[in-house]
């Protein structure tokens, strides 16, 4: 979201974009952009610290993921067992146990981040994370039993995946 808001601002001012800003712009130009979610903390950050002109552009994408009752528990486990920072653990867990306003879809398909360290940590620990997750979910009631971990990907990978889905 940082790269996208920055890219919009710089485009308006006819300033060159960094490669990351360009990718962010490409990603939010896909037909899937209206199915993107951000966290409640990021909504507050944007409202309070980023110019309105930039926020107006991202308003269509400002769907918020809201915690469900197992989100905090999973965030705690991710943090304690796999060494993620608390914000990262919170976001990963929100991507698994978060829901939109309508409350009809649990979790998301893709967790998109420029943070390569986070992606590496997730992939290195994936077998452990999956096993811990399966154990936790098996004790829950439906529909939480169907919860699934997101794919944790870079924006480049997300673009490729979405273009593939688009083509199907």
């Amino acid at each position: 979201m940082r790269r996208y808001t920055e890219s919009y601002w710089r485009s308006v001012k006819s300033q060159p974009l960094t490669p990351e800003q360009r990718i962010a712009q490409d990603l939010l130009s896909t037909p899937f952009a209206e199915r993107f979610f951000i966290s409640p903390e990021l909504v507050n950050l944007l409202r309070l610290r980023v110019p309105l002109l930039a926020i107006e552009q991202i308003r269509p994408f400002l769907h918020v993921l809201i915690s469900t009752k197992y989100q905090r528990r999973w965030a705690r486990r991710v943090r304690q067992n796999f060494g993620f920072g608390r914000e990262d653990a919170h976001l990963l867990s929100l991507a698994t146990f978060g829901i939109g306003i309508a409350g009809d879809i649990l979790g998301v398909d893709l967790f998109v981040t420029f943070d390569l360290k986070l992606i590496d940590r997730f992939n290195e620990n994936l077998p452990g994370i999956e096993s811990r997750f399966s154990r936790m979910v098996s004790h829950l009631q439906p529909p939480y039993t169907t919860a699934a971990l997101p794919e944790v990907v870079t924006p480049d990978e997300a673009l490729l995946l979405l273009s593939n889905v688009e083509g199907e």
Partner: protein, 119 residues
């Protein structure tokens, strides 16, 4: 008819609000609506075209790392401030990943293999 919002306020604040409404002969809704609008305008004026309180030129003259740090610090502040309310999921809710989970994972592995062989 406007939207409804239920909020909790301190007892003393409520007493002050009701006293004001009595004196001004206005309903609490009208007074709160006006106060909120004034607050939003004030916030917008304060923020203007600034990024994290910095003029845009100043913000964009900073390095990628410095800007990242500004966002990270602000995110942590919001994270500490916000007390997330939990929402109950609908019993008929479906998991986002239910439909195309396997296909998406396979495709991601392909992308990563291709990327690894190129580098």
């Amino acid at each position: 008819m406007g939207e409804q919002l239920t909020v909790e306020i301190e007892k003393s604040l409520k007493a002050a609000l009701l006293h004001y409404c009595e004196v001004s002969n206005e309903s609490p809704s009208v007074v709160i609506d006006r106060a909120l609008k004034e607050f939003i305008v004030k916030m917008q004026n304060q923020k203007g075209e600034t990024w994290f309180g910095l003029p845009a030129d100043d913000y964009f003259s900073r390095s990628e790392e410095e800007r990242e740090e500004l966002w990270n610090r602000a995110y942590s502040e919001e994270f500490n401030k916000l007390q997330l309310r939990e929402k109950e999921v609908r019993p008929d809710a479906v998991t986002a990943r239910q439909r195309n989970r396997e296909a998406l994972h396979r495709k991601l592995l392909e992308i990563r293999q291709k990327s690894a062989s190129h580098s």
